[in-house]
Symmetry: C2
Amino acid sequence: MSKDKKQIYKPKAISGFPEWLPEERLIEQQWLDHIRRVFESYGYTSIETPAAEEIDVLTAKGETDKEIYTLTRLQADDSDKREARIGLHFDQTVPLARYTAMHFNELDFPFKRYAMQKVWRGERPQLGRMREFYQCDIDVIHVDHLPLHFDAEMPAVIYEALSALDIGRIQIKISNRKILLGLLDAMGVEDTIPVTRTVDKLDKLGPEEVTKLLMNDCGLSKDHCEKILHLTTVSGVADIRAITPDNDQMKEGIEELAFVLDQLSHLPEGVIKADLSIVRGLDYYTGTVYETRLLDIPEFTSSVCSGGRYDDLAGSYINKHLPGVGISIGFTRLFDVLRHHGYIKAHKKCPTDVLVILPDEDMRAETAKVAQALRAGGHNVEVYHAPQKIGKQIAYAEKKGIGYVWFPDLGEVKNLASGTQEKANATTWKAK
Amino acid sequence: MSKDKKQIYKPKAISGFPEWLPEERLIEQQWLDHIRRVFESYGYTSIETPAAEEIDVLTAKGETDKEIYTLTRLQADDSDKREARIGLHFDQTVPLARYTAMHFNELDFPFKRYAMQKVWRGERPQLGRMREFYQCDIDVIHVDHLPLHFDAEMPAVIYEALSALDIGRIQIKISNRKILLGLLDAMGVEDTIPVTRTVDKLDKLGPEEVTKLLMNDCGLSKDHCEKILHLTTVSGVADIRAITPDNDQMKEGIEELAFVLDQLSHLPEGVIKADLSIVRGLDYYTGTVYETRLLDIPEFTSSVCSGGRYDDLAGSYINKHLPGVGISIGFTRLFDVLRHHGYIKAHKKCPTDVLVILPDEDMRAETAKVAQALRAGGHNVEVYHAPQKIGKQIAYAEKKGIGYVWFPDLGEVKNLASGTQEKANATTWKAK
């Protein structure tokens, strides 16, 4: 086929499926590596589950508000359509529950696992809505009883993971749902889910609108609404301890929250904030709940990292009582917002530390030896691909953000940032 | 809902979507980390493309023999069905081509990229057939002309990447398709694809069966078949240089192959083998081709790592001439076969280096400080979760393969492998 007759299909970006340029990807990798390192430093172990689960697994807890992508073979015939249907996971918690149930006898408890995988949601295309994104999760699961101490470990790990990412001040807000649920129980409210979901919107709607919804949609009295809204304004350990509990559940929540806050008192001032307005709309949280704000990134308005304590991880798949606590960083959305608003400065376009100049074709074996010696010293090294003018070779290094060029004919290395050039031995030299 | 009334859905493993236990996953991670480190040490930069591509992109080269999974929203309505269809990528080469075309003006050439992602194929369930697996690819793309030197870099990188994985001796077989294609041209064979595809089966079918197919299905004469089969038996640089070329194409192939072999002469004896029976059935390879055997793993019979040179990476998506060379490790299949046949010995069930004993609840703050000091020294550290009997705490460490236990009350550390216990300072101590 001649070149001009060739059929060209010009690809379009698929809305909600982001991808980065090499220089951005390098930073994404550094961030993911750092998060992983912190997770592992606390003994969390990686599991990786398949992208797909049975639809029956994904929907075992009943209708989900997450949009699921199902998989069908392009050339499917009728016999395929009769096959068990599978779909892409929409979070890492359902797969964790399924995994824990399925491998229960082979796991050691407490099971401390981290997961850093992509998840998919078949959202309608919309600005900022992502259909594919990384989540970075840690969870601890135990059988029958999980010590409260782990509820305090989550924010400590997350603080370490996020604070090295150069994203300014982080604030982790902590509450305990037993306090609000206890209060509602004392008030005689039976259907608590609409109430907690409404209180969860306090941030967005403000107290007046929430009061209106609580009265009109949830049927609460004005008095009860005031009591609830007053509770959500309490923050700080002393104030929490000062709450007079109406029943045992409230009392338990207050004690648990105070314990968790105590355990976190070693973190820098302002990192941890008790905030009873945090309830998380999700019904499966039963105690501690977390949300995380970036105080110096006004463009990032939602919680970058949320989670909480749940009583029963895998009850849909196994007849075991498996309480857990977990937290999840919405990694890709964080990265994308920061990238979009210019908070991420990409300097390098490749992992290369040193470019070895190729002075002429006859020196290829010599340059290869120098490159190998530098690699053995722990450096990432490219040999320039053709014996072109030295200026062109150096320009290539500068354009890609490579820090050093090596002249094998001179036995010298040049630091491109400082401009200094000096004699060096490839076997012993170290990049700064 | 009471516990016994609970609906339990017992999950089944989905055929072709493997997942590992934590101890296996730890080793998988070490292997992937190592491969990545080697790729980066040669200056390859990571790109990560979305799991999904437009179906039009996936099929732009015409019918593919790879089974594609398409994505549909579970609660799709008619307007969704009118949306552009998307499907999961079945390899990393099509996404690379699409990416390079789409970001052409933002990339630097030669573009050296690596990719380590999962790919999906909607295969029918069958023993050993995987529907989700990691591929580890490197490719170099350039505009108009790509130096042959890169054809020699591929096997050097792959040798380094694979030889540290403790999988015995590796043999990378190299050929150049121009030699066979030149010969076919000299013979007047116009439709070369069926011939190369048949020769590619030599390994499986043997020379007699291949001769029969070449004569019956491809219409070759007995004489021509003999000449072709003779060519495929040639190996070793000297024999290759001794071939008398029938035309320029053959001559070019011989020279290129000899150049690549020369460049690789620094690798240990036996790692590189010229083998003209390697043709790779894929039509887009135009020069150098690679296959890789594991000489000490008889259970792994196919090529663990294959690739080659192609003239035109992205011609389906952009009107640029982009030649490239690439190679791909079929990672998950390799890992699974080794795992299945007991070549992988898992010792640790978590990344933890040190378990800090919790002697009693009052010492929690003290143990937390010890743990933090050990983490600052670069160790992965867990604090035991409850002040249980010391023997039980040590048993937990032993079961999970944790190497050391730390007694904060005694200021001592015990090496569980050697049994030695000694005084130690958490700030300065280093695990061996």
